[in-house]
């Protein structure tokens, strides 16, 4: 899904700013506590990085002194970034590969395909075999698993020693930072929101997207009534069900976990907000009757329902526009809106993205080369070239950039203004996914599926059950390990 949407100038700047504000606030107490520490760490690591730089210089100088024999000592790295054959930007990416090779004769990059479905087994098996790529990118939730497992290299020194660091928008590294150490280079970002089919809404005589939970249910019912054979809202009930469910918990004014000041985790599945959110899910399915019957279909099928006009609303991201247009949906029919606000009156959007990740097993030279490679792809030059390529080929750009000096606005043509405005509006209030999501996900999916499938399931009781189980099997262990480490 590397298709991109565009955004107008004012919008993009505002969005970038609000995203970062969101990130900062979302990282909350932890970051404030660590602020001093991080600075210290940063200064320390600055020294350290000078050290490594010095040694790197030594190694690069050494061959020059000793003669030609070692001068062509080539660093080989493997990068999992070979685009799929049907990637619209394939020719561009390959051009960039060649450019990098020309500019870095001493770095030999092997590009490996990494776009297949279920690539996770492949990646982890390769890592286990010590054959993990020197550089790859993964989504934010996966980073959360990989960092504590030591699969992502600590690149604090490389980042702090790099002149490019300040080119990234403030806070861009936060999602990949743990205990003051940096593990990833931001690649891209997205924000979530409600996507609706304007045509189906117009048929029902609704002019504006819903603003509250009540309006949402009423609109969904009305749309369903006035358009034969379609469903009001495609709900996500498959294995990622907690991903969209968390938005509703935020809208009800709470969250699913809390990180305590001492770093330990506390579950809040049974908080008032979580129960209200699950009750709302239950109502959408059983009381208002506005969801698809096949609630266990995966997100791909939900999207398919939406772009083929079988459902009127779906939860999506800022990137959904280009995706749906690419599947043949009329661009004028696609509307984006901030989430309807819940009982708390708030409707934060979720921010996520993907990161470049280095391999801790690579040699320092390889890490440096991999870092240079990632930075090359994030350079203003590469990004501008990409923007131009997208314009020339009628592709949209992602509305957000993680770079300060890359001006998306130069390359934007065709995303409707109201779509951009709505994305912008929704990005004003940002929220990070709940703490420890990767470990807790399977526990939360269960109560969600239960209320969606069982008319008589009680949200509070199901959440309580899930919380007890997760407490016993995950949280106790996590907290104990944390205390033991201290």
């Amino acid at each position: 899904m590397k298709k991109h949407g565009g955004i107008k100038k004012s919008a993009s700047v505002l969005v970038a700013a609000t995203i970062v504000a969101g990130l900062l606030s979302a990282c909350g107490s932890e970051k404030e506590d660590n602020a001093g520490g991080t600075n210290n760490a940063a200064s320390q690591t600055n020294n350290a990085s000078e050290g490594t730089n010095a040694s790197a210089n030594d190694t690069t100088n050494a061959p020059a002194n000793t003669g030609d024999a070692a001068a062509d000592a080539v660093v080989e790295i493997t990068v999992w970034d070979q685009p799929s054959p049907d990637d619209p930007a394939k020719s561009f990416v390959e051009e960039q590969f060649a450019k990098f090779d020309a500019a870095h004769p001493n770095i030999k990059v092997k590009h490996v395909e990494a776009w297949q479905p279920d690539v996770r087994e492949k990646f982890l098996t390769a890592v286990a075999g010590g054959e993990g790529p020197d550089l790859s990118y993964s989504a934010f939730p996966d980073m959360q698993v990989y960092i504590p497992k030591g699969i992502a290299a600590d690149i604090t020194d490389l980042v702090n020693g790099s002149p490019d660091k300040d080119r990234f928008i403030d806070g861009a590294f936060n999602l990949a930072t743990k205990d003051g150490k940096i593990y990833g280079i931001p690649n891209d970002m997205y924000t979530s929101g409600l996507i609706y089919n304007k045509k189906l809404f117009a048929n029902a005589g609704i002019t504006a997207p819903p603003k509250t939970w009540e309006e949402f249910a009423a609109d969904a019912q009305l749309v369903q009534q006035k358009n034969a054979g379609i469903v009001g809202f495609d709900i996500l009930g498959m294995d990622w069900a907690d991903w969209h469910f968390e938005y509703y918990v935020w809208q009800a004014g709470g969250d699913l976990t809390e990180q305590q000041p001492d770093g330990t985790a506390k579950l809040t599945f049974t908080s008032d907000a979580a129960v209200k959110a699950l009750q709302y899910y239950k109502d959408l399915k059983w009381k208002y009757n506005v969801t698809q019957k096949n609630v266990v279909q995966d997100i791909g099928e939900n999207e398919k329902d939406f772009y083929s006009g079988r459902s009127a609303m779906i939860i999506g991201t800022s990137d959904s526009f280009t995706n749906f247009v690419g599947r043949g949906m009329n661009p004028d029919d696609i509307g984006f809106a901030p989430f309807p606000a819940g009982p708390s009156g708030k409707a934060p959007a979720q921010v996520g993205g993907s990161f470049w990740m280095l391999n801790p097993k690579s040699s320092p030279e390889q890490q440096k080369a991999a870092f240079d490679y990632a930075m090359f792809s994030m350079s203003k030059e590469s990004q501008d070239a990409l923007g131009q390529f997208k314009v020339d080929n009628g592709l949209g750009l992602r509305p957000f950039t993680v770079l300060k000096d890359f001006d998306v606005t130069k390359f934007i043509k065709d995303v409707p203004q109201d779509y951009l405005d709505a994305v912008n509006e929704s990005a004003k209030d940002q929220h990070l996914e709940y703490f420890l999501k990767s470990s807790l996900s399977s526990y939360l999916v269960k109560p969600i599926q239960k209320v969606l499938l069982d008319k008589n399931a009680d949200p509070a009781a199901e959440l309580q059950k899930a919380q007890d189980l997760a407490q016993k099997e995950v949280i106790d262990k996590y907290n104990n390990d944390l205390k033991a480490a201290k």
């Binding site: 996770r120 087994e121 982890l124 890592v127 286990a128 698993v145 990989y146 497992k149 030591g150 699969i151 469903v231 009930g237 498959m238 294995d239 698809q292 019957k293 096949n294 609630v295 266990v296 279909q297 801790p360 097993k361 990767s438 470990s439 399977s442 999916v445 269960k446 109560p447 599926q449 239960k450 969606l452 499938l453 069982d454 189980l469 016993k472 099997e473």
Partner: protein, 317 residues
């Protein structure tokens, strides 16, 4: 062949190493017969590949299971049997275990007998018999992944074929995979449609090989055709049934592909089985130690069940 004592010894001997096995073979054959190297030569290639691709791997899995396995710098922290205790204490494991056995029972109830019945009646069919046998093979030829996707479409409660057809005869609508009580049934049901495949041929051949005199004798005794099926055919294909059952059991207890494609263990863990949990702990949660412990545990469970079955069979005889 053999008796119970032999079985017991065999189970114990199983643990012996390959070297010992060979030595034993060598000395014995040398002592009694004048052939030493031929059997060894004949057996050696297979013994080696089995050791390398089976025993070495499962031993490696056992080794991994003793660590809080760190895939980046293996093996990580030694935890002894800690991983085993951890999953044994986990509620999710027992849910998976329970589901695995419910799947097993359901499969026996819905799928296992199908090829037997198909072969029983096929053996009574005189005309176009060969043609029917070919037709029976066709459904089994479809790759699992493609077949499961097909069924997923047909189950779709919004626009699937099944509810549409059932509505025509006044049934439904059913939730299929969307119904917590039906999920397991819906996952097993395709096996009923697919039928026996090559299993039909196995049973059919076994039935055909029953001597005609037996039937004649029964006929003379005044046994009707239906009764003959029961008292002559079934007992005579018992051994085939047992063999098929052993394979069927380990197949069902370890089934992964079909459930993974159909539901990924959902909804609400209704179809979470141990094989899926092994995959999930390893590749979603990156807890390779626990995953290895789980797989070794499953290996033991199935081994015990298999031995038990053979033993019961022997007592029966």
């Amino acid at each position: 062949m053999g008796n119970q004592v032999e079985l017991k010894q065999g189970a114990a001997a199983q643990a012996q190493t390959q070297a010992q096995t060979q030595k034993q073979m060598q000395t014995r054959s040398r002592a009694r017969f004048n052939i030493r190297w031929t059997p060894i030569l004949f057996l050696l290639p297979s013994i080696i590949v089995f050791f390398v691709f089976k025993y070495y791997l499962i031993l490696d899995a056992v080794y991994i299971s003793l660590f809080n396995y760190d895939i980046v710098s293996p093996p990580g922290k030694f935890v002894g049997l800690g991983n085993y205790f951890e999953f044994l204490k986990s509620e999710t494991f027992w849910v998976a275990m329970k589901n695995t056995f419910i799947f097993f029972l359901l499969s026996v109830a819905i799928v296992f007998w199908v090829p037997i019945v198909q072969a029983l009646f096929l053996s009574q069919v005189k005309r176009f018999n060969g043609f029917y046998r070919v037709l029976y093979q066709i459904p089994g030829v479809l790759p699992v992944v493609a077949g499961v996707l097909l069924w997923k479409w047909m189950y779709n409660p919004d626009r699937g074929l099944f509810n549409y057809l059932l509505a025509k005869i006044g049934l439904g609508p059913y939730g299929w995979l969307n119904d917590l009580h039906m999920t397991k049934f819906a996952i097993v049901l395709p096996g009923f449609f697919t039928g026996g495949g090559i299993g039909v041929l196995l049973y059919y051949a076994a039935i055909k090989s029953i001597s005609a005199e037996l039937f004649e004798a029964a006929k003379i005794d005044g046994c009707g055709p239906w009764h003959r099926m029961k008292i002559i055919i079934l007992p005579n294909i018992k051994f085939v049934i047992l063999i098929q059952f052993v394979g069927f059991m380990s197949g069902v207890l370890l089934s992964f592909d079909n459930i993974f494609v159909m539901t990924q263990g959902g909804p609400a863990d209704a179809s979470l089985v141990v094989a899926l949990m092994i995959q999930r702990t390893a590749f979603v949660q990156s807890r390779f130690g626990i995953s290895a412990a789980l797989s070794f545990f499953m290996f033991i469970v199935i081994a015990v069940l298999t031995v038990l079955q053979f033993r019961l069979q022997r007592e029966d005889d």
